[in-house]
């Protein structure tokens, strides 16, 4: 099976509460919290599309779209 390639991190900032679960459990250290405490993808190139963040986010605030 072809390796998944990231298209985009779809982040719903209105729903994100900045708990940091996605940041902590990302195996490639792709995500960070911004000044307002909301998540953003600071190193999207490193993303391996494992979707751990999408699965664990308690707030349904992050989705991984693959190409």
């Amino acid at each position: 099976m072809a390796k998944k390639v990231l298209k985009e991190h779809i982040i719903n900032k209105d729903w994100c509460k900045g708990c940091g679960i996605c940041v902590f459990f990302c195996p490639k250290n792709v995500l960070e919290l911004d000044k307002e405490g909301k998540v953003f993808a600071s190193r999207p190139k490193d993303c391996i599309c494992c979707k751990q963040c999408e699965l664990m986010c308690p707030d349904f605030a992050i989705e991984i779209e693959v190409q």
């Binding site: 902590f24 707030d59 605030a61």
Partner: protein
């Protein structure tokens, strides 16, 4: 159907605190329903009172938000009346096992086809962090400022002894396992109990040296182990996860159908 089609989006963001495990349980449930491909119109979700109970507001099923501890009794009435419907009853640990303890053991005993999901965060969150029957000894809570002295229930053993035909335990950290277990539980024809350790960083964590959601998730990772693993021999304190009971037993509604047949036959004579 995308699993987001199962939520009532207009009520998001949900009311739970940052990092609360209940959102993860909600996601696990929806993923399980999506995987099983159950029609939204065939699912009735019944909840009680507490943080856990607010889950029914967020799902696009037939939803019944009831009174504290009695969700299983309401669900029993729905199920017996419409046995073809799929009944899912998410409950908190206080909801299910303190005020609702009696209904819980009797629902197990009847083996009625309902899936009970106990979102165990070991605390009463909605009212501000009082200890629950699942807190265990030596924990701090807003009603246990000098620490708790009460033993906790073992939900798995309780459900097993009371007669549930499917009993499992998992955690929010192990969300993939949670989805698989929920699929099995919902598919089981009988009373299914799934205990899910769910983090309450706001009240349980803060008072018990697990200050962040990730601390709590790591606690679940470090303190649990799959059933029968070798690690448990070395460290007996570890709590086992997985499916403890998955057996085929007479289900209440099916047995009642036989009673109806018997009653009708008797009157014909």
């Amino acid at each position: 159907m995308a699993f987001k089609d199962y939520i009532r989006e207009r009520f998001f963001p949900h009311i739970w605190c940052p990092g609360c495990g209940h959102g993860m349980v909600l996601k696990g449930m929806l993923k399980a329903v999506e995987k099983l491909g159950i029609d939204k119109n065939n699912i009735v979700m019944v909840s009680g009172i507490g943080c856990s109970a607010r889950i029914t507001g967020y799902v696009d099923f037939h939803t019944l938000h009831t009174i504290h501890g009695r969700a299983l009794a309401f669900a029993t009435g729905v199920k017996i009346s419409r046995p073809e419907l799929c009944l899912i009853v998410p409950m908190g640990d206080g909801d299910a096992l303190a005020i609702g303890g009696n209904h819980f053991i009797h629902a197990c005993r009847r083996n009625i086809d309902i899936t009970a999901v106990i979102m165990n965060n070991r605390i009463y969150g909605m009212t501000g962090g009082q200890y629950s029957p699942l807190s265990g000894i030596g924990k701090y809570a807003s009603t246990a400022p000098y620490s708790t002295i009460e033993n906790k229930f073992d939900i798995v053993k309780l459900a097993e002894t009371a007669g549930a035909s499917f009993v499992a335990r998992t955690t929010t950290y192990h969300i993939r396992e949670m989805i698989d277990i929920l699929c099995m539980a919902i598919s089981n024809k009988g009373f299914s109990v799934v205990e899910i350790f769910s983090q309450c960083p706001t009240y349980f964590g803060r008072k018990n040296e697990l200050k962040t959601p990730t601390d709590m998730l790591n606690y679940f990772k470090d303190n649990t182990t799959p059933i029968g693993s070798k690690v448990k021999e070395a460290n007996p304190e570890l709590i086992e996860r997985g499916v403890f009971i998955n057996s085929s037993m007479p289900e209440y509604c099916e047995e009642y159908d036989k009673i109806v047949a018997k009653a009708k036959k008797n009157t014909e004579v």
